[in-house]
Symmetry: C2
Subunit: 211 residues, 2 copies
């Protein structure tokens, strides 16, 4: 019945992990490990000529940054499903990976069942994020928002106008208020977000999702 097994490529600089994955997937007739690589360069070279269904991609490769790697792979072969792999789980990295197009994420202590489940889900075009990962993502969101100072409606509005590159005078004209008032709001914004200029104001505002 399994005429077409799922072709998987493993990318991880740690040979032990590769062996582990091979063992975990050994019994699965639906999954075929087509190849494995220990760095980004070789993987990309492989993808020049050949392809696969799923790539298990370690986040910490020696040569190429994991996040960029995702983009590069999908640039070449948009229909490969990428499953991120890592030992730890830093929320910001996971977030970036997702934004760049990974279809799933696994910790390296995943069980055989999880692994198979993840691969088959992603192969079906779905996403797979285990419960630990979901928890981590949820925590990172609440953490972001917890120590966010409250901005007034007016402040939020002016903040977004600053982000658009408008000057104090521009904003004053647009809102029919005095430039001096805009200045005050500007100052209050910087004080609340604990920064000392507009550039970092925008950075932390975006980090804290105020824009």
């Amino acid at each position: 019945m399994q005429l077409k097994p799922i072709n998987v490529v493993i990318v991880d600089d740690h040979p032990m992990v590769i062996e582990g994955l091979k063992t975990l997937l050994a019994g699965e007739t639906t999954i075929h490990i087509k190849n494995y690589f220990t760095n980004g360069k070789d993987t990309l070279a492989f993808l020049e000529k050949d392809t696969c269904d799923i790539i298990l991609l370690d986040v910490n490769l020696p040569d190429i940054n994991g996040v960029e790697m995702v983009g590069m792979i999908l640039n070449k072969r948009a229909n490969i499903g990428i499953l991120g792999l890592s030992t730890y789980s830093e929320p910001s990295i996971i977030n970036q990976m997702i934004r760049n197009g990974v279809k799933g994420y696994l910790l390296k202590n995943a069980t055989s069942n999880e692994l198979v489940e993840a691969i088959s889900q992603v192969h079906k075009g779905r996403f797979y994020f285990g419960s630990e990962i979901q928890k981590i993502l949820a925590d990172s969101v609440s953490q972001d928002t917890k120590d966010t100072p409250k901005l007034t409606r007016r402040e939020k509005h002016i903040l977004s106008l600053i982000a658009e590159g408008k000057t104090t005078n521009n904003i004053a004209e647009e809102l029919f208020i005095s430039p001096l008032t805009v200045e005050t709001h500007r100052r209050n914004l910087m004080q609340k977000l604990e920064v000392s200029n507009a550039a970092s104001l925008i950075k932390v505002a975006i980090e804290k999702k105020l824009i």
Copy 2:
């Protein structure tokens, strides 16, 4: 066998959509529509006292912004799975919703099958994003990166220092170069990203994932 149907609450300001959803789900014995609301306030009031498994949440509510709504719901009841619903599909909104914690996203033209599939996947703790949504997300990523001007290594470095709130002089000291040189880089950065001040420089740099 279905002792515990999945309890679903529908939130949409358009009664027609609510009716449509009720009809589409009518035959499903595994899914029970527990309640429905046409605005955010009522929904939150309901969640004060009662709960459910899944919320089908329209993005364009009359009173509360859809993105914020997600946060508010999860704040009260973290284990409710939220499925975003909308007619159109603006990538940035979908991205925001996901970051705030929706577990899935559906277009309002979804078929009955998709709907049931989405609800049951999310109820199992998985994500559900239909192929259209995945395509939209993928496009938005490639669109972001396609018209991104190339920054030199030095420029990227200085860009990130600007984002940290450092002044031209600070940066010059840190890099052991003339403030005048930093000024030049600064200008080139603004020119490349087509902005006229540091605030918007940071904004578009983050949008284009250069930071």
